[in-house]
Amino acid sequence: MSGLSVGMLLFLVSVGMSLIFGVTRIVNLAHGSFYMVGAYLMVTLVEVLPDRPWAFWLALLLAPLGVAALGGVIEIGLLRLIYRRDPLMQLILTFGLILVIGTLVLLAWGPDNKSVSRPEALAGSVRVFGQPFPSYYLLVLGLAPLVAVALWLVFYRTRFGMLIRAATVDREMLGALGVNVSALYTQVFMFGSWLAGFGGALAAPTVAVALGMDSDVLTTAFVVVVIGGLGSFAGSFISALLVGLLQSFGILIFPAISIVLLFAIMAVVLIVRPWGLLGRPEE
């Protein structure tokens, strides 16, 4: 069951990465860094806000917004300069961002490990099928699908979503039709960053907030996105759940090779069906 919640958190991070790729064709390696910043912002906000029950929820609301702002700055300040370039160059640039953001986090928050406590109401556990199950994971299991549904609504029921879907199919045509593609890119990137930040903020009470959490989540999110299909929303969802469950049970079934299992699956998917479970084949 906790595999499901882990999967949900993974989904939040991965869908942002998938979304950004789908529209801008950039694999945003700095996505893990956004997740980390979201978690660290959560730490600071909880510290700074008064010790009341609502503080946690306010922090959860504000932290991802901070990350979205960061994403916006990066998109406008940097990524826009290189949109005409090969997407691989853009990918490498995001790798540079990992190093920059990582050091800035160290400088801003210091080297010490940090932590965010679960809100009092969710600190314990409930009985599910006779086994104790952490209450906080119920929050995750509740919130993440809500976000997923909200995303679905945005993609399929709003104009913005329609533009995003159109952009994943044919950017040039969209520009030719008079849409401000450049602004769309910024919005999408900020949206994706928001998702990563939200994932980080939501996950913060379940892990340690420490340096290195960016690469931990990046590798897994990367695998999830590849397996599900870059650019596919439903693909990310299914694949995130699969990976979350696999990590939980794989440990019990194949302990010796569980590390390599994910990358082996990623390799197999890339060999057999590169565009992932539900992705779209490139021309």
Binding site: I92, L97, L99, V100, L270, E282
Partner: protein, 310 residues
């Protein structure tokens, strides 16, 4: 001065360096030569072949472990063991490359990364063979080659021959065919070039020479660890090649030089800031890089060099 003149000056400077420089700088130059070979081999694939791999650390590591294991476990002398580096790395490149070259672009890069992480994990966990995360220690060259100056000349010789070989490959009909594949695979196929085969051969050659660089590095360093295969090592030839210029054959070598010196100087003064510095370099290089990869995706024609010297 004509390019040949510059090149001659550099070669001369390198040859007499042991007379002027203290041992540490000879060792630094040795490392630069090794990284330069790694980056040049990598650039065969990236600059000339148009294929960006994120998993070259795997071949570097295979090339480091193979001769190290032969020397340590089987007592094979270095000169006989070192050829195992390109052979084993090339075999690995053949095995993985077979699958990787069938993809292109982002997917190519991602699969190469996945395979490299698998190699890393296998090295890490197969403790009985590789020593796991304890690594292989006391991997030194024989007494004849052990002094900084001796290993420096040895490395220069091996790297020099390899660079000449790579240069010959790049300037051969195969090299030109590879370039045409990079430019426009469909047109290349039309004129009868077997695209996949050319890409795979380039991949294997690139992997083999990367492995040779790894082998040289093993004995330079004195120990071999699994993190030679970790994906962060894969970014080193990439950054170096970008810095030096992927459009020129000697770009990666120059990039290796500038990068390693920079790394040494910055890291000893402000260690905390080195990752920030490196990230900024990467970003600045990409943003300010003259043509970048536009030429590779068919935007600008790649101007081939009018002469073969230089």
């Amino acid at each position: 001065m004509r390019p040949a003149g510059w090149l001659g000056l550099v070669v001369l400077a390198l040859a007499v360096a042991p007379l002027a420089l203290p041992p540490f700088f000879l060792q630094l130059l040795t490392e630069i030569a090794i990284v330069g070979l790694f980056a040049t081999a990598f650039n065969l694939l990236m600059g000339f072949g148009g294929m960006v791999s994120f998993g070259h650390a795997a071949y570097f590591a295979l090339g480091a472990y193979a001769p190290a294991l032969l020397v340590k476990r089987a007592g094979v002398p270095l000169l006989l063991a070192l050829p195992a580096a390109p052979v084993v790395a090339g075999a690995g490149a053949l095995l993985f490359g077979f699958f990787i070259v069938r993809l292109s672009h982002t997917y190519f890069a991602m699969l190469s990364l996945a395979f490299a992480q698998i190699v890393f994990t296998v090295i890490f966990k197969w403790k009985a063979l590789t020593g796991g995360d304890d690594g292989l220690l006391d991997v030194w060259p024989p007494p004849l080659l052990k002094s900084p100056a001796a290993y420096y000349y040895f490395t220069l010789a091996v790297v020099g021959v390899s660079v000449l070989a790579l240069r010959a490959i790049v300037d051969s009909p195969f090299g030109y065919a590879l370039r045409s594949v990079r430019e426009n695979p469909r047109r290349a196929r039309f004129i009868g070039i077997d695209v996949r085969r050319h890409q795979l051969v380039a991949f294997v050659i690139s992997g083999a020479f990367s492995g040779l660089a790894g082998g040289l590095f093993a004995f330079y360093n004195g120990s071999v660890f699994p993190d030679f295969a970790y994906f962060t090592k894969s970014f080193e030839p990439l950054v170096v090649a970008l810095l030096g210029g992927v459009q020129s054959f000697f770009g990666p070598l120059a990039g290796a030089f500038g990068f390693k010196i920079l790394e040494w100087l910055v890291s000893r003064q402000w260690p905390v800031y080195w990752p920030l510095f490196l990230g900024t370099i990467v970003i600045v290089v990409i943003v300010l890089l003259p043509y970048g990869f536009v030429g590779l995706v068919g935007g600008r024609p790649w101007r081939t060099r009018p002469t073969t010297r230089g």
